[in-house]
C-alpha cells in the first residue's frame, strides 16, 4: 500500500455561514501503480482532498500515510522536501515559471533537490514528452498543450511515488486534452506510478482503474472498474 487515508475530516470557517464541513470521515487506500479519479460536483471537496493528499494543507482529524509516513505529523520544512521527493503535482493552469525555458522548468525540481545527472534525465524526459525541439522556448512561446506537457514532465522528473493531477485538461481543447491524457497515462504506466486525478469529466475518470465520487463531504461511491487505459 502506497497511500492510506484514515478518518479524514476537514472543515472551513465562513464569516457568514459559520463552519462548513467539506470532508467527513474519508477513508481509502491505494496500491502502487494504481490510477484513481476523484469526481464530484463543484464545491464537493475534490480540490480540498487533493490538497490534503499533497500535504499542502492539514486535515482537522485523521491520518494521511504516504509509504507509511504520516504527512500530518511532519513539520512544514520536512514536509516540503518530502513532498518534493515523493509527490508530483500537475495543475490545471500549468503554473510554469514564466522566465525559465521548458528545459529549465523541467530541471528545476532536480536542481532544488540537488540531484545528480540532471542533464541526462531532462534529455530523456524531453524525448518522452516530445518537446526536444521546443526545449529552449519560454512558457509564453509554447501552446497550452505544450505547457501542460512541460508541467507533466516537471512532475515526473523527480520519479515521485505519487502523482496528483488537478483537472489536467481543464485548460485545453478536447483534442489536445486527449493527447495530454494519453501521454500522462503512458508515462504513468511506463514509470509504474500511482496517479490520483481530479476531474469533472466522466470519460476521463473512466480511464482510471478506480473512481471515487465525493458528495456532501463523503465518498459515497467507490467504483472499481477495469482499467481502460487509452494507450
Amino acid at each position: 500500500m502506497i497511500l492510506e487515508l484514515k478518518n479524514i475530516c476537514k472543515s472551513f470557517h465562513q464569516p457568514r455561514s459559520g463552519r462548513i464541513e467539506v470532508l467527513n470521515q474519508i477513508n481509502f487506500s491505494l496500491d502502487a501503480g494504481e490510477t484513481t479519479a476523484i469526481t464530484g460536483q463543484s464545491g464537493s471537496g475534490k480540490t480540498t482532498l487533493l490538497s490534503l493528499i499533497a500535504g499542502l494543507d492539514n486535515p482537522d482529524t485523521g491520518q494521511i500515510l504516504l509509504q507509511g509516513e504520516d504527512l500530518c505529523s511532519m513539520k512544514e520544512d520536512k514536509l516540503s522536501r518530502y513532498r518534493a521527493m515523493k509527490i508530483g503535482i500537475i495543475f490545471q493552469q500549468f503554473h510554469l515559471m514564466p522566465h525559465l525555458s521548458a528545459r529549465e522548468n523541467i530541471s528545476l525540481p532536480l536542481e532544488i533537490l540537488k540531484q545528480q545527472h540532471i542533464s541526462d534525465r531532462v534529455d530523456d524526459m524531453l524525448i518522452n514528452i516530445g518537446l526536444q525541439d521546443r526545449q529552449h522556448h519560454l512558457p509564453g512561446q509554447l501552446s497550452g498543450g505544450e505547457c501542460q506537457r512541460v508541467a507533466i514532465a516537471r512532475a515526473l522528473i523527480i520519479k515521485p511515488a505519487l502523482l496528483l493531477a488537478d483537472e489536467p485538461t481543464g485548460n485545453l481543447d478536447i483534442k489536445t486534452g486527449e493527447k495530454i491524457i494519453r501521454l500522462l497515462f503512458d508515462l504513468v504506466k511506463k514509470e509504474n506510478k500511482t496517479l490520483i486525478l481530479v476531474t469533472h469529466n466522466p470519460d476521463l475518470a473512466s480511464q482510471c482503474r478506480t473512481t471515487l465520487k465525493l458528495k456532501q463531504g463523503r465518498l459515497t461511491e467507490q467504483n472499481n472498474s477495469a482499467q481502460r487505459n487509452p494507450a
Binding site: 480540490t47 516540503s80 500549468f94 515559471m97 522566465h99 525540481p109 532544488i112
Partner: protein, 854 residues
Amino acid sequence: MLWIRLGLQELIKNRGFALFFILNLTLGLAGFIAIHSFGRSLNHHLENNLKDILTADMVVSSNRALEQKDVALINKVLGTKKRQARLISFYTMVKAGQNARLIRVMAIDNSYPLYGKFSLEKGSTIKSIQKAPGLFMTVDTAYALGFRDKSNKNFPITLGKKTFNIVDFLVDDPNTSLTAVELAPKLYMGIDQLSGTGLIQFGSRIRYSRYFRFEPDANVPVLVNTLRQEFARAFPGQQRVNISDSRDVNRRLGRLTGYFTGYMGLVSVVTLFLAGIATAYLFRGYLNLKQKEMAVLMSIGARHREIWLYLSIQLIILGLIASILSIIVSLVLVPAFPVIFQGLIPGQVNLKTDPATIILALGLGTIGSIIFCLPVFVRLFAIKPLMLLRGTSASVKNNPQLFVRQLASIIPGLAAFLLVSIFAAGSMKIGIIFVVGFAIALAFLSLIGWLLLSVCQRISHTRITVAKIAFRNLFRNKWASLSCFVTIAMGAFLISLIPQVQQGLQNEIIRPEGLKIPVFFLVDIQDEQKTPFIEFMQNQEGELANLSPMIRGRITTKNQQPFQKEIQQSDDRPRRRGGHRREFNFSYRKDLDVSETIVQGDPLSTTPWDFESKHPFEISVEQSFAERYGILIGDFLGFEIQGLPFEGQVKNLRKIRWNSFQPNFFLLFQNGVLNDAPKTFLAAISNVPLLKRQDLKNRIVDVFPNVSVIDVTQMAGTLLGITNKLSLSIRFMAWLAIAAGLISIFSIARHEAWKNENQINLLKILGSKFSEIQAITLLEFGFIGFTAALFAILLSYAFSWAISLYFFDSLWQINLKLSFLILFLTTGVCMLTAFTASRKVMNSKPVRLLENAN
C-alpha cells in the same frame, strides 16, 4: 548558485521594476552619501589642522591687558618648557587714500605664529614690521583699501594717528585656514608699532591674547584645566581670562560645520526614507505579482528559507547596483560643495568619497534594502502552494501570528531609521524627535486615509457610473488604496516640509518689514565724543539714530545665588544667539526700538531710578538670554559695574529682531542707573545716499579715528551672500528630495495602474467606452493623489511650524506658491502616470484578460 541564477533571470525579466527600484534607491542614497562624504572630509581636514588653526597649543586671552599677577600665575602653572607669542587684535577703521573701511588689526610679536607660518610673496620676516610701521595683508585686503598697483611701494595706510606701508603680501595666512566668514578683512602689524596709533582707548573692544606652545609630550588638556582652576582659586568670582585649546576650536568648528551638515543631513535622511518607502512599495507590488511563482517553487520542493534567499539575492543585487551608482553620483555631487559653500568652509579641504563612505553606501544599499523590505518579506510566510489549487492569494490579515510578525518586522526599519537620523543630525535628541515626528505623521495620515476611504463608500452611492465605479474600486480595495494613499501622502509630506522649514530660515535672515535698516553701524563712540558727534552729524547727509550707551559689567548673582553657576549650567543647554559670555553689555533707553517687542511683563518705568531708593531698579531682559540663563520675571539680579555692586529686578522680557542692525542689548536698565557710569556709545546712521556713503565714512574716520564704522549694507550683502549659499545648498537638497519623491510617486502610480489592467480589460469587454475607462482611472488616481497631497501639505504646515519654533526660534510663514505646486504636481504625476499606463492597457487587445487568467 541556483538561487542566484534564478534571481538574476527574474530581474532581467522584470526590467521595469528593477529600473525603478534602482533609480529610487540611487537618488535616495546619493544625497546621503554626498553629505556624509562632505562631512567626513571636512571633519578630517579640521581634525588634522586644529593646532594650525589655533596656531598654538593653548591661548589665554582677555579683553584687558594681562596684569603682572595674571602672567605670574600663568608662568607658575605652565612652567618654563614653553614658547609663547603675543597678539593684540581689534577692529578699527583704516584709511587709505579716499577709502576708509573696517579692518581687523592683528598686532603680533616676533614669535607669532607658534604653529603654521606666514607665507609671504617676497619672503619678508616679521621683524620687518616690528621695527618700522609696516603691514602684511592679502592682495584682496589691499584691493579693498584701494590699492591697485603692486609696483607702487608707497601706499600709505592710516591706522588711527599713524601711517603705515604695505611691506609684503600674504600668500597663506595661518589664521585664515578656518573660514572666511569674518566681519572685516585682516591685516598684520608689529605689536611694537601699536604705540602712537591712539587706537587703544577706554571701552575699545580689544582682545589681548597670549599663545603657548609646549613640548610634544605635554598634556595640554590637563594644563588647561589646572590653569582654569588656579585662576578660579586665585580670583574667585571673577572671569579674568579665557583659556582655550584645540578642543575648543574643535567644538567651535563642530558647531559651524554642524549647522550645514546637520540640517542637510536630515534632508538627506528624508530623501533616503522617501526612496525607502518607494522601494518597499515597489517590492511589495513585485512580491504580490510573484506570489504564484513562489508557490510553484514551494510545490516543487523549495523551502521558505530558499525563497528568502532567492528574493534577498535580488534585493542585494539591486541594492548593490544602486549603491555603486549612488557612489558615482556622489562623486559628482561632492566636488560641488566647495562651490556651494564657498566662503563658509576652508578652501583647501580635500573633498573625497573615502572607503568608510563607500562601505556605508554599500551597507545602506544592500542591508538597508532588506531591512526596509522586511515587512514585505514576512508576507512570504503567508504564501502556500495551496494557493495554486484554490486560486487564492496570500494574506496576513487572517493569520494573527503573521500579522504580529509583520508588525514586529517594522521595528528593525524604524531602528535603522532612528540610527541614521541620529547619525545625520549629529544629535540623539534631534534624531529621536525627527523619528517620533515621522511616526506621528504616518499614524495621522493612515487615519485620514482610512476615513477618506470610508467617505468613498458614501460617494459611490451615486448615479454617475464613472464616479460609482471609481469610488467603489477605492473602498473595496481598501488595504491597497490605503497603502497607496499613505505612501503618496508621506512622500508629499516630506517634499512639502523641507521648503516650509527653509522658508522659516530665510525669514529669520531677511529683514522684517517696517524696520529702517541703517547704512552704518557705529561702535566705540567715546562719552566725550557724544555731543561733538551729534553736532558733526547735523552737518552731514544722513540721519543719526539710536545713539545708545553701552556699559560693560558682570552679573554676579541671580536671586542671591552666584550667577557663575548659571553660566556653567548654560553650557549644557542648547546654544542660542549670543553664545557663552562672561561679561555683558548693558544699556538704557527711554523708548524701545522698533526692532524690540515686549513679550512678557510691563514696560520699564520712565522715572529715573533714585540711588537712595530701597527698591531695586527695573531690568528688561532679552527673551533668548533669559531662557539660556533661566531668568524669569521678578528675579533679582546682582551686578558689578566698574567695581560697584547693584541689584535690579526683572520687569519684562523682550524679543529682538537682531537682523535689524540696530544697537540692541541683552539687558536694558531703568533710566537713571547707568547714566553716570563710564560708557561708550553705539549708533546707527541711515538715509545716506549711495554716492555719499564712502565720503561720509572717510569724514567720520578723519574726525573720529577711534570710531569703527561698520558698513551695514556691505555686511548685509555678505550675510545675504552666505544666506544665498546656504539657501542654495538647502534648496539643492530639497529638490533632490522632491525628485526622489516624485519618482517614488510615479513608481507607485505606475504600479497601481498596471494592477488595474484586468479591470480595464473587463470593462472594455463589457462595452465601456475608452473615455469612460480613462475617466474612472483618472478619477481614482486624481482623488488619491489630490487628497494625499492636500492632507500631507496641511500636516507639513503643522510640523514646519513646530520645527521653526523649536529648532530655529524663527518666524513661520506658509509657502503657498510651493504648496500649490506640490499639490498639483503630486496630483498631476498620479493622474498622468495612471493615464499613460491605462492607455497602454487600453490599446492592447482584451485577450490579455484571458492570458492573465491563465
